[in-house]
């Protein structure tokens, strides 16, 4: 055995191994440089995402109250079962148990949880959880730390269907809304106002969401609170509405379709606004079921439409107020002028029938308004011609929006020659003026516009701006004051006299008569010009029944416009509804009167 072996070749190869070692370490250092030097910002963000869990705390929406503080919309705590999973959470472990506990389809739970999401982004498994659900989940907190119960404010409407169109409803923010700047801060799925005041005052009602940032460990356990911004609730909105009157108005309609608007004749405050049939906004607060939604949208009686501001109807004989005012102001007649009604009028070679085929005989303006004599107004219409009628209609605010603080208000329509030229490229036929002079033909108005017109007669000739909100977040809502229409006092007085006679001297509005209070008003019937005549639906060819009036006669406190869809004659169908509302409002026995507050 050699004492010293020749190790030179092995030693050379050891040099090679050392070089290899050096190369390996250099390679590792390069990789660490990439991670820690080049891309460290990216990994720091990932580490922050691991470490910090951000929860948004929903701000409670502002309340809606009536003028007396009665609640129309509030927030109630509701329970929601949510799953908050970390990056390594296992859906399989909890989906089966959750499904049997909450009676939710397991496939649905899996689908919700398998959607891509950031770690610790809570996923709602069940809204509107019952106390049993909450108890079942809480009892298994140890087994399923990912599952928790969240208490969230949910919109609640204690009066349910009452004033639903005014209050509106909330719903998940739509994709279209999300593209608008007003909704820039909203996350998909967030409930926002979708109609009525909920939509119009959404910004004021929403408030500011709070934020909680917590440091969480790998099991999702909160270690410390790193940031806590409490939610700031939305501002309350106080309405001019009286829920008592509103309920009375809705009661007067029973199940009939139609609409009614009640105003303070001097301030334009809306005291009640009915659109029937209505809906229950509570069914929207936690996401509406599809069958309910389809039922509402497909119902031919259009329960989601707010007829009072969105429904456009021929004003019928209510329009005679405009024609009378125009004729008096233009000096075509004096309050004492009379004419003879043989039951028809022959104008421009056409025969136009009166509403009483036997004729009214000799009629004054008062009787003409009181008995709603068409012949009287055919003649006035022919003398005034369309341009002057349209001009006076506009003085009453017709043909344009009233500016009420409710969304999607309709303008109605006051036709004139320019309008016809623009739309039909045809000249105005004088025969059309005759239809317009009794509120038929192309004339369209909303119930609120009719109430506003009647308010101008009741208050002595000033056009009010109808509004329904008094206070927003404690600050008074400011509206432009009522504007004088510039009519002679005698004009207003003459019309008032006619409206008084209609109700109190056996006129067309006698069904609105109340023994204890003097009511004045006008009936109307809006002819339905539609294909409904071809169908055999007898109700559908009935004209819409109108009544608009005010009371008490000497110092009016309320103006009312009532429309009963396909009610037939205004005197028979709408006047009794108005009477019931007047009685409930003005007679202390039946209804505590609205506290009269002076509008700021």
């Amino acid at each position: 055995m050699k004492i010293y072996e020749d190790l030179r070749s092995a030693q050379q190869r050891l040099d090679g191994l050392q070089n290899g070692l050096l190369a390996l370490v250099a390679l590792l250092l390069l990789q660490f440089w990439l991670l820690q030097g080049v891309h460290s910002k990216h990994y720091r963000e990932l580490a922050e995402n691991n470490r910090i869990r951000t929860l948004s705390i929903a701000a409670p929406r502002g309340m809606l109250t009536d003028r007396n503080g009665n609640i129309l919309a509030e927030n109630k705590p509701a329970f929601r079962i949510v799953v908050t999973m970390g990056p390594s959470g296992s859906v399989d472990r909890i989906s089966g148990t959750l499904s049997s506990l909450l009676k939710v389809d397991e496939a649905e739970i899996r689908q919700k949880l398998s959607r891509p999401r950031a770690a610790y982004q809570p996923v709602t498994i069940k809204t509107k959880a019952t106390f049993e659900d909450v108890a079942a989940v809480e009892a298994r907190r140890r087994e399923m730390p990912e599952v928790s119960v969240e208490v969230v404010p949910v919109r609640s409407y204690p009066l349910a269907r009452s004033a639903a169109h005014v209050v509106g409803r909330v719903g998940e923010v739509t994709d279209r809304q999300l593209k608008q700047p007003a909704f820039a801060d909203f996350e998909p799925g967030r409930l926002v106002g979708q109609s009525g005041l909920e939509a119009l005052y959404n910004e004021d009602l929403t408030g500011t969401d709070g934020l909680r940032r917590m440091v969480v460990n790998s099991r999702g356990v909160e270690i410390e609170l790193s940031e806590d911004q409490p939610a700031r609730g939305g501002g309350a909105v106080e309405l001019t509405l009286s829920t008592d009157l509103q309920a009375a108005m809705e009661g007067a309609f029973a199940n009939r379709a139609g609409s009614a608007a009640a105003l303070d004749p001097f301030t334009g405050e809306i005291l009640g606004l009915v659109s029937s049939p209505g809906f229950d906004p509570n069914s929207f607060t936690s996401g509406i079921e599809r069958t309910v939604w389809e039922g509402l949208t497909r119902d031919p009686r259009t329960p989601l439409l707010n007829r009072a501001v969105q429904g456009q109807y021929a004003p019928g004989s209510l329009f005679k107020v405009v024609v009378a005012a125009a004729a008096l102001e233009e000096g075509l007649i004096s309050p004492e002028s009379t004419t003879f009604c043989p039951g028809y009028a022959s104008i421009y070679g056409h025969v136009f029938k009166c509403n009483r085929p036997s004729g009214h005989g000799v009629v004054s303006l008062g009787r003409a308004l009181g008995d709603s004599c068409n012949v009287y107004f055919y003649q006035l219409g022919a003398r005034l011609e369309i341009e002057r009628i349209a001009a006076y209609a506009r003085k009453f605010g017709l043909g344009s929006v009233t500016g009420v603080d409710l969304p999607s208000e309709a303008r109605g329509l006051i036709p004139d020659t320019a309008w016809k030229e623009r739309l039909f490229k045809a000249p105005w036929y004088q025969g059309e003026t005759i239809s317009v002079s009794i509120g038929q033909g192309q004339v369209l108005a909303t119930p609120l516009q009719m109430a506003r017109m009647m308010a101008a007669i009741a208050n002595g000739g000033r056009l009010v701006r109808p509004h329904i909100v008094r206070l927003v977040a404690g600050k008074p809502a400011v509206y432009e004051p009522a504007v004088s229409m510039g009519f002679k006092p005698s004009t207003i007085a003459a019309i008032r006299r006619g409206l008084f006679m209609a109700v109190n001297s056996g006129g067309s509005g006698q069904h609105a008569h109340i023994a204890e209070v003097e009511v004045a008003g006008k009936t109307g019937s809006a002819q339905v010009v539609s294909s409904a005549k071809l169908t055999k639906d007898i109700e559908a060819i009935q004209p819409h029944a109108w009544f608009a009036g005010f009371a008490p006669f000497d110092s009016p406190r309320i103006v009312l416009a009532v429309l009963v869809d396909h009610g037939g004659s205004g005197g028979a169908a709408a006047a009794p509804v108005a009477r019931a509302i007047f009685a409930r409002f003005l007679l202390p026995r039946s209804l505590s009167p609205v506290e009269r507050r002076v509008s700021p």
Partner: protein, 362 residues
């Protein structure tokens, strides 16, 4: 005898060893603070103390005598490994651990040292100028048997770490470059063919999970991803000792054992990584220096084989932490918490020192 022992010791090597072990203890303390494993660093320090004693004892022992008895040691190793398979309790789906009284240990860690002795002994006795492929048959068979026994635990990581040891042994023993080329070419081609054509996807998946149940137990790529986040978010200078969010909030898996280097990278940043890799480089470089100084082929090959295992473990573990290699249960020598790993590493270094001390005289 003692004087000779202390005179012959390589103090730079021991210094590097103690420096890295202490760093490990410090990182373990950080990784386990405020957890139920708090205080684990004390046990690690104790294991290091025992390790130092073992290192001295082994260094004092003549490696040649140990190599002479390598067949006996191999027999014992195989018996213990098979006994482990037969009687060991299943821990996390594997049978790697054997209990002797109150002490648990991992026989495969020690089997590696026996493998190094056997391989070194076999290759050193081939007194040829150069070796061909045929000369590899006997050592390859023995290494293979040992590797398969370890792999059956299953402990693929440790089994694979026998391969670099075998190749470095063959390389230093004088395997011809032509043979190396043929061998590596054959291995690459065989590997590719079997992966592409012989195995179906589900079989590959089964092989993965059978051989390595601790691969991704918490969802796809979770460990690798969390480790990369820890490393990358550490940046240049780190988040500070005990301040790493990935470590302290528990996002980092196996942070006191296999991923201890992630903890270091997160809390001390690229600077800490550079210094630590520098220390490892110095340690392994020094070991290869010792191989060059060895008085005989046996010593040179033995030291190189042992260094090859150490290098493989360090490089694999650090590359795994950096997300370059799949996650395997391979500890980082000297730093990862674990008594068996610490003791085996110190014995390994003791053997290397034993070769150095006997570099001059008979």
């Amino acid at each position: 005898m003692l004087r000779r022992l202390f005179q012959g010791l390589d103090y730079p090597l021991i210094g590097l060893t103690l420096l890295l072990s202490s760093l490990g203890v410090a990182m373990i303390a950080s990784a386990t603070q405020d957890t139920r494993l708090e205080g684990l660093w004390v046990g690690q320090a104790g294991a290091i103390a025992i390790g130092v004693l073992l290192l001295l004892v082994v260094a004092a022992t003549d490696y040649r005598k140990l190599a002479d008895r390598s067949p006996v040691l191999l027999g014992i190793a195989l018996v213990v490994l098979i006994a482990t398979l037969a009687i060991a309790p299943r821990i996390a789906g594997t049978k790697r651990w054997l209990s002797v009284g109150p002490v648990q240990f991992q026989p495969s860690e020690f089997a590696k040292i026996v493998a190094a002795l056997v391989i070194a002994k076999l290759f050193s006795e081939m007194k040829k100028e150069s070796l061909g492929l045929g000369d590899l048959l006997v050592p390859a068979t023995i290494t293979g048997v040992l590797a398969l026994t370890i792999a059956a635990a299953p402990d693929l990581g440790t089994a694979v770490s026998l391969l670099p040891m075998f190749f470095v042994g063959a390389f230093l023993a004088g395997l011809r470059y032509k043979s190396i080329l043929i061998l590596s070419g054959f291995l690459v081609v065989f590997g590719l063919i079997s992966w592409e054509f012989l195995l179906r996807d589900y079989q590959k998946a089964r092989i993965y999970s059978f051989l390595d149940p601790d691969l991704d137990p918490r969802g796809s790529g979770y460990q690798k991803k969390q480790s990369q986040i820890a490393v990358g978010s550490g940046g240049l200078t780190g988040k500070g000792y005990g301040e790493g969010s990935q470590t302290q909030l528990g996002y980092l898996p196996a942070r006191q054992t296999d991923f201890i280097f992630s903890v270091l990278a997160e809390e001390f940043g690229f600077v800490g990584v550079g210094v630590t890799l520098g220390l490892y480089l110095a340690l392994l470089w020094r070991c290869l220096d010792i191989a060059r100084l060895a008085r005989d082929r046996l010593g040179a090959i033995l030291v190189s084989c042992l260094t090859a295992t150490l290098t493989f473990q360090v490089v694999y573990n650090v590359a795994m932490v950096a997300g370059l290699l799949p996650v395997k249960g391979l500890p980082l020598p000297l730093m990862s918490a674990g008594r068996s790993s610490v003791l085996a590493t110190f014995i390994t270094l003791g053997l290397i020192l034993s070769v150095r001390m006997r570099r001059f005289a008979n």
